[in-house]
Amino acid sequence: MSMRGIIRACSIVITLLVIGVSLSPPIVMAADQNIAVSATPPSNPTVDSVSPASAKQNDIVGFIIGGSQLAGASSVSFGAGITVLDFTVDTDIQISGNLLVAYDAALGLRDVTVTNPLGSGSKSDAFTVLDGHIAGYDEAVAHNETLNWQTETSTVLVVVGSGTISSALYLQNPVPTAIPAESIKYYDVRCLNATGLTSLTVRLYYSAYDISDLTNPVPYFWNGSSWIACSNYTRHADYVEVYIDGTTTPTLNQLQGTHFGLGGVRPVPTIAELLVQTTIPIIFVAILVVFVIAVGMTQGLLAGAIAGALAILIGIPILSILVDMV
């Protein structure tokens, strides 16, 4: 090879080397894309509505609160004298629960407040405590003594030990659930702190008017959800005596705004009574019919008609009296 040939060959080699370096491909190792996410947490709750708007002293009632940002609520308050027994956050705009109005809660308006981790929200004058002691109410600090409140609340309480005892009388069933018997009368007996009490004997008095024609009165107590028959009681002429201690039903510790109710049984007439009740009116009517027919046949049609009219005018009142008597 000539010198010129050698030089040309070297030039091509060098040029190819240069081109090869310039061919390195562009490699992207990774690619990113973003989206922004934003959110706003709740702040203080608000209370817009409360239902029901009122309850009586001694009442246990369910409630519903409407508002906003209620989720996460840690407490619900209806003010002094009202205990919120439980509550559930149904949604961000509703809370439901149950409350107890103390027997001695001050009457009047209350603010309703809901608290969540960020603060509180209230509705002023959203709830009213009404007078629950319709007929009578008594309270005393007793120590081994007998509290005779028969005139005021139809109760006499024999206290063994020490405690603050109160009693009230209702004119009607204080709870929406019917007593499991024919109702006679309703009372309230309370001892919020039974630590010093050994036993309490409660005499629930009733009149002949109260019991009407009912028999075998049974005392029941309201356990917050249903009427339960008291375990230890005796019947007397015009009262039922209920003995309560730590082992009875109810116990002393259950006297926390406890409603008592007396229920009786309407007697079922015997067969003899049913016969008398039906036979006497039938015989009486039969006598009148025979009398009218006899007059008509012997004295003429006009006399018979007059006798019939008299039988109706006089007989119906007499028949009514007879039915009442039997």
């Binding site: 050698i6 030089i7 030039s11 491909p25 992207v28 934003s38 947490p41």
Partner: protein
């Protein structure tokens, strides 16, 4: 002697060529054409930003979804395209895997921390993601800390997939300030 001089001259010219100098009349060039295509990764991500509760107040301990049919509506099993607010499209020229990252939500006050477990707590949120055609019940966790979970695997060039995200809000808040963060999708070449 002449031959020695000729060899010396040749070596000198070769050295001059190696330092990039070639005399105009010293050599003739030959050119060749070489064609090469590099691996190119790129993708698009539609659906826009996600403002929970339309800018309103969110509830604690509540699931939210980037679901066009309803932010409180959990995507079904399997997830359908209609319930995914976002579409990932591979605009590169190679198949890719896509991972997802969700950073802590920050703002005035304390941040909401990503639990990295899909669970929540006080000031702690959970993030999840899923693609169309797979069950939401097996949604992957969108973590803040590496290693990130793979949302899409072997997404072909020019291919696309619908995706949906889930946000489990904290159980409690210590302030009422708005928080914001970002979800980052990262595509790498599928191997």
């Amino acid at each position: 002697m002449k031959r020695v001089l000729a060899i010396l001259l040749g070596l000198s010219m070769l050295m001059m060529l190696m330092v990039g100098f070639v005399g105009p009349a010293a050599a003739a060039d030959q050119s060749i054409t070489v064609t090469a295509t590099g691996n190119y990764l790129a993708f698009t991500f539609t659906g826009g930003n996600w403002t929970l509760a339309s800018g309103g107040v969110i509830s604690p301990n509540t699931n939210y979804y980037s679901n066009p049919l309803g932010e409180m509506t959990s995507p079904p099993n399997p997830v359908t395209d209609a319930e995914c607010n976002h579409i990932v499209t591979n605009t590169g020229n190679v198949a890719v895997d896509v991972t997802v990252k969700w950073v802590d939500m920050a703002g005035t006050g304390s941040p909401w921390v990503n639990s990295d477990a899909g669970t929540n707590g006080s000031m702690v949120f959970g993030g999840k993601a899923q693609k169309s055609g797979t069950n939401w019940s097996s949604a992957i966790i969108a973590k803040n800390a590496a290693t990130y979970n793979t949302l899409l695997s072997d997404l072909a060039a020019a291919g696309h997939t619908h995706v949906v995200f889930g946000f489990l809000s904290p159980t409690a808040f210590t302030d009422s300030n708005s928080k914001s963060g970002s979800i980052t999708l990262t595509a790498t070449e599928h191997v």
